[in-house]
């Protein structure tokens, strides 16, 4: 587009992300002059809301930050507080928490792969348009999501904003028989997930690769959900307690949300692609095989292939849920008793869309005196801007509507849950 006058691409609303905000891209010819991810709502309300509350309330309060990943919030909260109070949980409770998280991953990934992201690849305005031609795919998504809901319902009491996880365990745990009732559904879901990997692998992926610093949890022998060290593709290897030494949130003028950056470096990448690239060998064999057959070998650097990686993680979540159910025996006690004491604890868990950091300081009465929450979307925001800065330049010669659509598709690769970071999200691109 050299020699051509500047132009404006404007997308006021970015649909199919969880929430609403605005992404603004300003172009001057074929050069990207500016990229701003704008967020409208003060993101730290919940941190303030938690201060003065008893630690036992934190899992339920934080679960209400997001309707799509409430379990992630509960899990990071209970782990951080358990660390602050030096509590050890029963191994059977640990297993149940893995199952709980698998339920959320199935719900979230099924929704995103089929209903939020696939329409971009297939050229539909939205899933409603897509359903007219791909009814079976949409029905598969609905059934997959329902199976995730069943797991969450069994362990959480209700699907959205679960209430049964608590500091020290669960308020109530299911019997072995109850969890085994999930098996036939999960066996179907595993098969459907394998089909999802094959289906997504046939989509067309724009040839866009970047040198990302991938950041994810890493456990010695499990694909990460609830615990592990925080590692990166560039040599980071830290405990959650060191997180704030290495990452910092910076306020940017154009956004109410804080952008998380690596100190001294800049943006980084969290989410399925990061987990896959850093933990491929820890995936169950069935997921590894599905990935390889779909043409995925780590490191995957094409942002758009994240839809296939998400499908591979669906396979993992179903296989892992079945494994946990096979091993599960109800613990003697649903939770350990927890006494008030002062302490500080940090935890990182893997929300469907990437790492979620929580830190709590509690006093001797068990009241929260400080809370810090860094959601995955805050961690990816700077990375999204960096990608768009590069990718929008590739689209300079495209008609404005198509370029806008491709940029939205790129943003949706991150499955941004803007409601975690803030409330609503909108997107706008200007060419001048």
């Amino acid at each position: 587009m050299s020699g051509r006058g500047g132009r404006t691409i404007k997308v006021d609303t970015l649909a199919r992300v969880e929430g609403e905000g605005a992404l603004y891209i300003k172009m001057a010819g074929d050069r990207v002059a500016d990229v701003k991810l704008k967020i409208y709502e003060p993101p730290r309300m919940f941190e303030a809301f938690l201060r003065g509350r008893h630690f036992s309330e934190a899992p339920d309060i934080t679960a209400r930050i997001c309707g799509i990943c409430p379990i992630a919030y509960q899990m990071s909260a209970v782990h951080a507080i358990e660390r602050a109070l030096a509590i050890k949980i029963d191994p059977a409770v640990r297993l149940l928490r893995r199952l709980f998280y698998c339920g959320e991953w199935i719900e979230s990934h099924a929704l995103h792969v089929y209903m939020l992201h696939a329409p971009d690849f297939l050229g539909y305005q939205d899933v409603i348009e897509m359903a007219k031609d791909h009814r079976a795919a949409v029905e598969k998504a609905l059934r997959l999501k329902k199976i995730g809901n069943r797991i969450v319902h069994l362990l959480g009491g209700r699907e959205i904003h679960p209430i049964s996880a608590c500091v020290g365990g669960f308020y109530k745990v299911p019997s072995r028989k109850q969890v085994q009732e999930l098996v036939s559904d999960l066996e179907w879901a595993l098969e459907a997930s394998l089909e999802t990997v094959r289906w997504t692998s046939t989509l067309e992926f724009p040839p866009f690769e970047q040198e990302y610093e991938f950041v994810a949890l890493q456990h010695p022998d499990e694909y990460p959900l609830n615990e592990g060290r925080l590692v990166s593709s560039h040599g980071l290897n830290i405990d959650a307690a060191e997180y704030e030494d290495r990452f910092v949130e910076v306020h940017v003028k154009h956004s109410n949300a804080l952008h998380s950056v690596m100190r001294g470096k800049g943006s980084y990448f969290v989410g399925p692609l990061a987990r896959f690239n850093l933990n491929f060998g820890r995936l169950p064999e069935i997921a590894q095989k599905a990935a390889i057959e779909a043409g995925l070998r780590p490191p995957v650097k094409n942002l758009f292939r994240s839809i296939v990686v998400r499908a591979v993680e669906l396979v993992f979540a179903c296989a892992e849920a079945l494994r946990v159910i096979g091993e599960y025996e109800a613990p003697a006690a649903a939770h350990v008793d927890v006494a008030n004491r002062a302490g500080v604890g940090q935890a990182i868990t893997e929300a469907p869309r990437g790492i979620l950091y929580h830190r709590y300081a509690v006093d001797e009465n068990g009241l929260i005196v400080a809370a810090k929450i860094v959601p995955p979307t805050s961690q990816n925001q700077r990375r999204i801007e960096d990608d768009l800065r590069e990718y929008a330049g590739h689209l300079a010669a495209w008609p404005i509507e198509e370029a806008t659509w491709k940029c939205e598709q790129a943003v949706r690769c991150y499955d941004p849950c803007i409601s975690c970071a803030t409330h609503f999200l909108k997107v706008r691109i200007d060419r001048q």
């Binding site: 199919r16 309300m45 930050i65 359903a131 949409v138 029905e139 609905l142």
Partner: protein, 145 residues
């Protein structure tokens, strides 16, 4: 009849649908509640013929306005469900229709809200609309008894 109240109790006026459902339940009328996310709503109303769903909405109307729409009358440009989801009730209606799963009789009670910030209070106008919605639904149920 299935009655579904949608919303988020932590986000001000977005709690409207949930409060209507709770008020009805207090009066002995069975109700369901959910966030308003499309697939969740579709799961709830699947295999039901007669459904009322209540949620906070934002259109150009005055705060506290009570809208009652059938699926055909649902305005295209309003945000039904102010909750933090990309897919809400409007999408649930359209997707259900496409998949042949739309309840034979469906009414959407939309309560016009304005304050959706985290931990904000419910607006007095919305509280008044909640009471009107409860009364309307109770009358409808009584008239059928």
């Amino acid at each position: 009849m299935l009655i579904i109240g949608c919303g988020n109790r932590q986000r001000g006026d977005d709690a409207a649908g949930l409060i209507v459902a709770e008020r009805l339940r207090d009066g002995g009328i069975p109700t369901q509640t959910c966030s308003g996310e499309a697939t969740e709503v579709m799961e709830l109303w699947r295999d039901h013929d007669d459904v009322i769903i209540i949620d906070a909405v934002t259109t150009a109307s005055r705060i506290g306005t009570l809208h009652i729409w059938d699926p055909e009358g649902l305005p295209k440009n309003c945000q039904v469900s102010a909750s933090t989801h990309g897919l809400g009730i409007a999408e649930a209606v359209e997707l259900s229709r496409t998949l042949g799963q739309l309840p034979a009789r469906l009414r959407v009670y939309g309560i016009e809200g304005r304050e959706f910030g985290v931990s904000s209070e419910i607006s007095p106008d919305v509280m008044r609309a909640i009471e009107i919605a409860v009364g309307r639904i109770e009358s409808e149920i009584r008239s059928r008894a």
